[in-house]
Amino acid sequence: MIKDNLEKIRQDAVKKMMESETMEALNEIRVAYLGKKGELTNLLKSMKDVDPKDRPTVGKLVNEAREELEKHLSEAQARLAMEKRRLQLESEVIDVTLPAKKSVVGHPHPNRVALDEVERIFVGMGYEVVEGPEIEYDYYNFEALNIPANHPAKDEQDTFYITKDILLRTQTSPVQVRTMEKKKPPIRVISPGRVFRSDEVDATHSPSFHQIEGMVIDKGITFADLKGTLQQFAKEMFGEDTRVKFRPHHFPFTEPSAEMDVSCFKCGGKGCRFCKNEGWIEILGCGMVHPKVLRMSGIDPEIYSGFAFGIGLERIALLKYEIDDMRLLYENDIRFLRQF
C-alpha cells in the first residue's frame, strides 16, 4: 500500500520537476513533496502504521525515493539556472562595432617623441644626458668653441644678445665645454635643449628650436668611431636598412668636420619628392673635437681625442612624422598633438 503510494509520489514528483519552467514553480514542487508538510514527509510520518517487520524495507525505499527526488531537484535547479543565464546572455548581446570609449590620455609633443627615441638610443650606448643653461655666456657659446670675436657667425643677425657678454645660446655646443670643464674622460654625453637664432617665423624657420649635442672624449677615439657611432644611431632611428653618407664640412669647433646624410627613409634612396630626388637627407653635423677646444677646456689633445655631433631635433621630428610646416610645432593645436 505504502509502496504503491511511494511509487506514485515519486513518479509525479519527478515528472513535475522535469517539466517545471521556473525556479518558483520548482520551489513549490520541492515544498509540496520534500517540505515539512510535503507528501514524502507525510508518508514517513505514516510509518507508524507499517508492520514493524517491514519498516526497515519501507524506510529504505522512502529514503531512496527522497534521495532520488533531491537528485532530480538539483538537476532541475541546474537546468533552470543554466536557462536563466542563457536568456540573460542572449538579452545582453552588444554591437561590437559601436565606437570605442577611449580613456582620455594626453599626448606628448612630437619633439618629445623624437627626443625620447634619441635618448633611448644613446643611453643604451652608455651616454649620460646632461644639460646646460639656455641663457649663456658669449665665452661658452663662441670663444671656447674656437669662434673668435668678430667671426661672421657671431653677427647680430644670427644671435640674440642680452648684454655684450650674455646671449641666448645659438647652439647646444657650449655644453661640450661645460661638460669637459666638469668631468674627466672617459666622457660620453648627449645634451638636448632649446637654442635660439634670430630667424623670422616661417614654414622652415623658428627663432627658438632644439638641438641634441653629443660628445665622446677618451683615449684613442677616432673619426672611424664617429662614423660607426652615428651609423648605429641612424639605423636605430630610421630603420635597419638605412645607409649613411659623410660629407666633408666645416665647423669651427671640430676638425675634421662632416655632415651626415641618411638614405631617404621614404623611398629608400631611389629619389622621391620627399628627398628632392637626391635619395639622401641631411641629418646632422659632426666632427672630431678641435684640439684648440680640448685645450681651452683643460683636456690635453696629445692624450685624449674625441668626437662631437649636433642634431636638429625639429628637423628629425619634421622628417620622421612628415610635418610640412614648422609653425605647427609651436601652435599646440590639440588636433595636431593628438596624433603623437
Partner: protein
C-alpha cells in the same frame, strides 16, 4: 659660388666626368655642389642659318617669308621678327627640334617647346629663327642681342654649324656651397684645384706673363698705407691710352656663366679676374687722382663721401678709405667714389688690387648698409699674396684684348709679407686620429695635388698662404681624410672603459611629471621662451609686480619676442586660446619649460633658469579640485607623501580671487593653482572657465625620492568613527583636518571628508562637514576606550575653534 664646367675644364684639361659624377665627387671631397643646370637644356636641332632672301607675305602685313640657308639646304621660314635682313646669320631651329622657352622670356617650360612644320596665313614654314630668350638665356648675358627680335650672329660664324655651340651654351653651371674656412674656393681657380685633386688630373692654371712698356708705374703713382692693421697690401698698376670697347665673346660667355653681365672690356676684365682669382679689384681714373698719390687711412668721424652709385655716405673712424693727395676716392673694399670713377672718356687708369682686413670690411659694410660683390668677398679675409697674381693677370688681359697700354712695373706696398706655414707631418698620428692605415707616401701625394709643399728633411708640410685654414695637424688630417674619402674610412665603435648611460635625477622626475600629466589627459605643448612685455598687462600684474623685472633681449625680432618670460602662464594660455578659437572642445595642455629670473638687472651673471611644469585646461572636468588631484597624483609618484598645504595668503592677480592657492610642501612654496581670473580669460579670448597649476620644479626635485619602503598590510582591525559638525563657512577643511591630524596622533590612520552641506537646516553663514576618521594600531586591536579618549581630544579642540558637533 657658381662656375661654368667649361671654364673649370680650361684649367683641368683632363677632366672628363659627367655632370652628375662631377657633382657627387666634388661633394664627397668637400666642395659641396648644391645644384647644377645645363645651359643647353631643351636646345635641339639648332643650327646657324643665313637669310638669303626676304619676301613680303601676300596675306599678312606683319609677316615676312625668308629663304634660309642652313648648310645643306635652303628652307623657307615665315617670321614676324622685325630685325632680320638678307645676309643675316641667325640661330635656326629645324623641324623636329626644340627650344627652351617662348620669345617673351617668361619662365621656361620643363620640357621646352617642340618645333613642328607649320603654316602661317597659308604659307608653309619649316622651322623657326630664334631670339636669345627662346634659347633660354637673356639680353642680360648677351647684351648684343636685340630687344625684340632674332639673335644675329657676327659674320665669322659658319653656316650650318651648331648654333648652341656658337653661343657657348654647351655647358653646365654648378652652384657650390663653400664653407667659410675655404676662402680660396670662392674663386674659379680654387675650385679647379680641388677638382684636379679630386679626379687626380693635372691642374693647369693660367700662365701669367710679364706685361707692360718701358715706363715705370712708380713714376705715375705713389702709394702709402697709414693703417697697416686694416690693409696688409696694396698693389697698383697703370694702363694708359685706354680703348673702351665690348670684351670678346669668350669672356662675355664666361662672365655670363658666373651670373655676371658683360659691360665693357675694362669692367669685364676686373670681373673676370675677380671670378678666376677671387680677388676684387678697382679701377680709378688716374687723371682724377690728386698729386697722383694714394693714401690708405681711416676716415674721420662724421666725414661724408659720395660712392659711385651717387649716394652720399656718412663715415666713421673705423672705416678704411682710399684717398688721394686731397680727398677720399674710395671706400676700401666696398665701393669706389663718384669723383674718380671710370667714364667713357678715361685715358689713363689706375688698377688697384689690395688686401683689406675682412672683419673691418664686413662691419663697415654693415654699418653703411652697403654690401657689395667686392665687400662680400673681402669680408672672408683674403690672401695678400693673391693680389699680385690677380693684378698681373688683369694687365695681361688688357694687353690681350687691346684695351690699353700697360705701363711697366707695379707699385707694391706690403709692410709685413705673409709667408708659408709649416706643420709637422706625423703619418702615424694622422692614421690613429682618423682610424685608417693610409700609406705616408699616399698622404704626400694628396698634399702635392692640393698645392701644398713638403720638406723631406724636416718631415713638415709647407702650407702656402692661400690655405689659411690649415693651421695644425688636425687640419692636415682632414685633408688626408677628404682625399682618402670619408666613405672609405672604416666604421668602428669607441672601445675603452665602459660608461653608464643614464638620465639625471632631475630628468627622471620631469619624466614622471610628463607621464602623470599625460595620463591625466593633458597634452604636451611647446611655446617660446621670449614674449611681449604686454603679457604682464594681460595677466593683470601691477606696475610694480616683481614679475615685470624681466630680462630684455637687446636685438629682439620685435617687441612681441623681446623679454624672457618670468611667468610660465602666457605660453599655455595663448595655446589654449588658439584651440578655443579653432573650436576645439575641452582642451588640456601642459608644458615643461624654463622661466628666467634675473639675479640683478642689467645682467652681470647668468639668471636663474627655473623649470616649470605648467598645466592649463578649459575642460569642465578640470575644476580646481581635479587640477589639485593631478598635482597630488604627481607628488605621490615622486615620494612627496607628506602633507601638502594650500595657502590662500598670496593673491595672484591673474587668478580668481576666491579660487586660488599656493602649494607648499616641506616648508617651501612649490607652486600654485587656481581658476583663471575671468578678466584674464577675456584678455586671452578663452570663453570657458580655465584652471591652471604651475609647479616650480627646482623646489620639488630636491624633495623628491624614488625610495619606497613597504608598509606591512594591517593585521589588526581598524576602528572607525564618523562625525558631523557645524561651523562658520570661513573655517576651511584644511584647518579642520590639521586639528584632527594633530590630536589624532600616531593611531590616526586617515581622516576623510565625506559630506559638505550648506542650506536648509543650517544657519546662514554656516556649513556642515562630515568626516570619517579611522584609527588603527599595528600591534593590537584598539579598545573602544582608547579611541574614545582620542576622539574626545579632537572634539574639544574643534570646539575651541567654535565647531559644534551636529545633533
Amino acid at each position: 659660388m657658381n662656375t661654368s664646367y667649361n671654364w673649370i675644364k680650361a684649367y683641368v684639361p683632363g677632366l672628363d666626368a659627367g655632370d652628375r659624377e662631377y657633382a657627387d665627387a666634388m661633394t664627397l671631397s668637400g666642395t659641396k655642389v648644391e645644384s647644377y643646370s645645363r645651359l643647353d637644356k631643351n636646345l635641339e636641332k639648332i643650327v646657324v642659318g643665313k637669310v638669303e632672301k626676304i619676301e613680303r607675305h601676300p596675306d599678312a602685313d606683319h609677316l615676312i617669308i625668308c629663304q634660309v640657308n642652313v648648310g645643306d639646304e635652303v628652307i623657307q621660314i615665315v617670321t614676324g621678327a622685325p630685325n632680320v635682313f638678307e645676309g643675316a646669320k641667325v640661330p635656326v631651329v629645324l623641324v623636329g627640334g626644340r627650344v627652351a622657352g617662348g620669345h617673351d622670356g617668361g619662365p621656361l617650360p620643363e620640357e621646352g617647346i617642340k618645333i613642328k612644320k607649320g603654316k602661317l596665313r597659308g604659307v608653309e614654314s619649316y622651322g623657326m629663327m630664334c631670339s636669345i630668350e627662346e634659347l633660354g638665356s637673356s639680353r642680360e648675358y648677351y647684351p648684343e642681342a636685340p630687344e625684340n627680335g632674332i639673335y644675329i650672329f657676327p659674320d665669322n660664324v659658319e653656316v650650318g654649324k651648331d648654333a648652341v655651340e656658337a653661343l657657348g651654351l654647351h655647358d653646365t653651371v654648378f652652384e657650390y656651397e663653400i664653407t667659410s674656412n675655404r676662402v680660396d674656393c670662392f674663386s674659379l681657380l680654387g675650385i679647379a684645384r680641388e677638382a684636379a685633386a679630386t679626379f687626380r688630373k693635372d691642374y693647369v692654371p693660367p700662365v701669367v706673363t710679364e706685361t707692360g712698356n718701358n715706363e715705370k708705374a712708380s713714376d705715375f703713382i705713389k702709394v702709402r698705407i697709414d693703417a697697416p692693421d686694416l690693409c696688409s697690401r696694396f698693389c697698383a698698376r697703370i694702363v694708359k691710352n685706354i680703348k673702351i670697347a665690348p670684351s670678346p665673346e669668350w669672356m662675355q660667355r664666361r662672365l655670363a656663366s658666373a651670373g655676371i653681365r658683360p659691360i665693357n672690356n675694362l669692367v669685364d676684365i676686373t670681373n673676370y679676374v675677380m671670378v678666376e682669382y677671387g680677388q676684387p679689384m678697382h679701377a680709378y681714373d688716374w687723371d682724377q687722382i690728386s698729386n697722383h698719390e694714394i693714401i690708405v687711412r681711416r676716415a674721420q668721424d662724421g666725414d661724408e663721401f659720395q660712392t659711385l652709385d651717387g649716394q652720399v655716405r656718412k663715415l666713421d673712424h673705423d672705416m678704411l678709405m682710399i684717398c688721394d693727395g686731397e680727398k677720399e676716392v674710395g671706400l676700401a673694399g666696398i665701393m669706389g667714389g663718384e669723383n674718380s670713377k671710370i667714364t667713357d672718356d678715361v685715358t689713363t687708369m689706375l688698377f688697384e688690387a689690395a688686401c683689406f682686413d675682412g672683419t673691418n670690411v664686413r662691419l663697415s659694410a654693415k654699418r653703411l648698409g652697403l654690401r657689395t660683390d667686392a665687400s662680400s668677398i673681402f669680408e672672408k679675409g683674403l690672401d695678400p699674396n693673391n693680389t699680385e697674381l690677380a693684378i698681373n693677370r688683369a694687365c695681361q688681359l688688357v694687353e690681350e684684348l687691346g684695351a690699353g697700354e700697360v705701363v711697366g712695373g707695379m707699385v707694391d706696398v706690403y709692410p709685413h709679407p705673409w709667408t708659408s706655414r709649416r706643420i709637422a707631418f706625423r703619418p702615424d698620428w694622422i692614421n690613429s686620429f682618423i682610424g685608417t692605415d693610409v700609406d705616408p707616401e699616399t698622404m704626400k701625394e694628396y698634399f702635392k695635388r692640393l698645392g701644398l709643399g713638403f720638406d723631406e728633411d724636416a718631415q713638415e708640410v709647407i702650407v702656402p698662404t692661400f690655405r689659411q685654414d690649415l693651421e695644425q695637424e688636425a687640419d692636415i688630417a682632414e685633408e688626408v681624410a677628404r682625399f682618402f674619402g670619408y666613405d672609405n674610412i672604416p666604421t668602428t665603435l669607441p672601445r675603452g672603459e665602459a660608461t653608464a648611460g643614464k638620465l639625471s635625477f632631475k630628468q627622471r622626475i620631469e619624466a614622471v611629471a610628463r607621464q602623470v600629466a599625460e595620463y591625466s589627459g593633458f597634452s604636451q605643448a611647446m611655446t617660446y621662451s621670449f614674449e611681449s612685455p604686454k603679457v604682464f598687462d594681460r595677466l593683470l600684474l601691477t606696475e610694480d609686480a616683481p614679475e615685470r623685472e624681466a630680462i630684455r633681449i637687446s636685438n629682439p625680432l620685435g617687441e612681441e619676442f623681446s623679454i624672457m618670460r618670468t611667468v610660465s602662464l602666457n605660453g599655455i594660455l595663448t595655446s589654449l586660446a588658439t584651440n578655443y578659437n579653432r573650436r576645439n572642445k575641452s582642451v588640456s595642455l601642459y608644458e615643461m619649460g624654463n622661466i628666467y629670473i634675473p639675479r640683478e638687472l642689467p645682467l652681470t651673471e647668468l639668471p636663474d633658469e627655473r623649470m616649470q611644469l605648467t598645466l592649463g585646461s578649459y575642460d569642465s572636468k578640470y575644476d580646481f579640485f581635479a587640477m589639485k588631484g593631478v598635482v597630488e597624483e604627481f607628488f605621490d609618484k615622486i615620494g612627496l607623501s607628506g602633507i601638502k598645504e594650500y595657502r590662500v595668503d598670496t593673491r595672484r592677480p591673474y587668478l580668481h580671487p576666491g579660487r586660488q592657492a599656493d602649494i607648499w610642501y616641506g616648508g617651501v612654496k612649490v607652486g600654485y593653482l587656481g581658476e583663471l581670473h575671468p578678466q584674464v580669460a577675456d584678455n586671452y579670448g578663452i570663453g570657458e572657465r580655465t584652471c591652471i597649476a604651475v609647479l616650480d620644479m627646482p623646489e620639488i626635485v630636491p624633495q623628491a625620492t624614488f625610495d619606497h619602503k613597504y608598509m606591512g598590510i594591517a593585521r589588526f582591525p581598524a576602528s572607525s568613527r564618523d562625525i558631523s559638525m557645524v561651523m562658520k563657512k570661513s573655517i576651511t577643511a584644511g584647518e579642520v583636518e590639521s586639528v584632527i591630524r594633530g590630536k589624532g596622533g600616531k593611531l590616526l590612520e586617515s581622516c576623510e571628508l565625506f559630506d559638505i552641506y550648506e542650506g536648509k537646516q543650517i544657519m546662514s553663514g554656516f556649513k556642515s562637514m562630515a568626516y570619517n576618521i579611522v584609527f588603527r594600531a599595528s600591534d593590537r586591536t584598539l579598545e573602544d576606550r582608547e579611541v574614545n579618549d582620542i576622539m574626545e581630544k579632537i572634539l574639544s579642540a574643534l570646539k575651541e575653534m567654535g565647531i559644534e558637533l551636529r545633533a
